[in-house]
């Protein structure tokens, strides 16, 4: 039962990671790409590492994996926000519908 749950978590998580990668090459400008940079990555990494911790059972290694999950849930959004803020402060213009894609 635990194994089935773990396989489900790992499959869905890696799907999220793959879709995030596709998003980062398909979206039109930097501000849209920050969306593909933070959310699918956080979700996919949380699901995948939780699945691996379930496979591993209850011990110190699983606790460390869950701590990585907790850290990444805060860290990815923070670093994405820092990059987006830096882009806005240095005057990078957002893309609007109808302009050329960069």
């Amino acid at each position: 039962m635990t194994e089935i749950l773990a396989v489900l978590f790992i499959s869905i998580g890696s799907l999220f990671l793959l879709l995030g990668s596709i998003g980062i090459i398909r979206f039109p400008d930097f501000y849209a790409r920050t969306h593909a940079m933070s959310k699918p990555d956080t979700m996919g990494l949380m699901l995948t590492l939780t699945g691996l911790a379930l496979l591993n059972g209850w011990n110190l290694t699983s606790l460390k994996l869950l701590l990585v999950v907790l850290f990444v849930a805060m860290a990815t959004s923070t670093s994405t926000h820092a990059l987006g803020r830096a882009a806005l402060k240095t005057g990078l213009k957002p893309w609007f519908k109808g302009e050329d894609r960069k």
Partner: protein, 91 residues
């Protein structure tokens, strides 16, 4: 399909997901796009390292590498973002 074959397949999918952002790092029009690509590559590498640890049966060793890599990825991205913000000017 046993568990090891499944994990090999997942590692293959992750390798593909890791290869795609290199296009953005190479082509990206601004520096921020390149940094976004690098950050995405870093977070995919974390998962790939953990899966490689399970496949080799040495997760207790690889999990420390995973912790160090996630810390480095976060600190590196924030440091470059702060630098680019403080430098200002052209991007």
């Amino acid at each position: 399909m046993n568990l090891e074959t499944f994990l090999h397949f997942i590692a293959l999918v992750l390798a593909l997901a890791l290869l795609l952002p290199f296009f953005r790092v190479y082509k990206g029009p601004t520096l921020f796009d390149r940094m976004a690509g690098l950050s995405v590559i870093g977070s995919k590498t974390i998962v790939l390292l953990a899966i490689v640890g399970v496949v080799y049966g040495r997760l207790d060793m690889f999990v420390d590498i995973v912790i160090a890599y996630s810390l480095l990825n976060f600190v590196g991205t924030v440091a470059v973002a702060r630098y680019l913000e403080a430098r200002g000017g052209k991007h």
